[in-house]
């Protein structure tokens, strides 16, 4: 069955510390991969996406993600977290013409 797993429901990181959010997927073929963020009171905003090519993808707000085919993973990273990064993060997979499959989300809290 196709699925996305975000193993961490809630993570707390100190401001200025590095961040890694995990995402593993189960899919028949190599899918398109996405990370979305939802800040309080806001909609889902696309952080970055992977379709093909370079497996290290740069996104907005200083985020990056690395696609590892052998591990079926697409982990999100940021070298230095800011208080404004506190939000809920969703990993999603799909292919052209198919619906996106989302993980359950990881809530990020940033401590000062």
């Amino acid at each position: 069955a196709q699925s996305v797993t975000q193993p961490d429901i809630h993570i707390t990181v100190s401001e200025g510390a590095s961040l890694e959010l995990r995402c593993n997927y189960s899919y028949g073929a190599t899918p398109y991969l996405f990370w979305y963020v939802q800040s309080p009171g806001q909609g889902l905003q696309l952080l970055l996406k992977y379709f093909s090519g370079d497996t290290l993808v740069q996104g907005i707000k200083g985020f990056e993600a690395e696609f590892k085919r052998s591990q079926s993973s697409f982990n999100l990273r940021k070298p230095s977290v800011h208080w404004s990064d506190a939000a809920e993060y969703f990993c999603a997979v799909g292919q052209a013409g198919t619906a996106l499959i989302f993980g359950k989300g990881t809530t990020l809290s940033v401590s000062s």
Binding site: Y32, L46, A96, A99, I101, F102
Partner: protein, 113 residues
């Protein structure tokens, strides 16, 4: 350029009532999607329009849900009659090409009491 707009942002209705959610996609986006997040669970696909046609409605939970996109512009999602388990956040998204880069609205939080 305006983003995807959804309204209302919140709706509280009683069980058995009818509610209609509206989504205005980004102008020129032929693809429009509805998703739903029930509390504590994943965001799940409901259906996909290409212009005014339903491309995929495999995620619609039952026949109490009716989605339309007349004229291929805005879309409505009607729940009639609403049940308690319909509570959640309903997201709309649009894209130029199918699932290449979907832009999401801020969602409608529906509470059925």
């Amino acid at each position: 350029e305006a983003g995807v707009t959804q309204f209302p942002s919140h709706s509280v209705i009683e069980k058995g009532q009818t509610v209609t959610l509206r989504c205005d996609p980004i102008s020129g986006h032929d693809n429009l999607y509805w998703y739903r997040r029930v509390m504590g669970k994943e965001i799940k696909f409901l259906l996909h329009f290409v212009k005014e046609s339903k491309q995929d409605e495999s995620g619609m939970p039952n026949n109490r849900f009716l989605a339309e996109r007349t004229g291929g512009t805005y879309s409505t999602l009607k729940v009639q009659p609403a049940e308690l388990e319909d509570s959640g956040v309903y997201f709309c998204a649009s894209s130029i090409q199918p699932n290449t880069e979907a832009f999401f609205g801020q969602g409608t939080r529906l509470t059925v009491v």
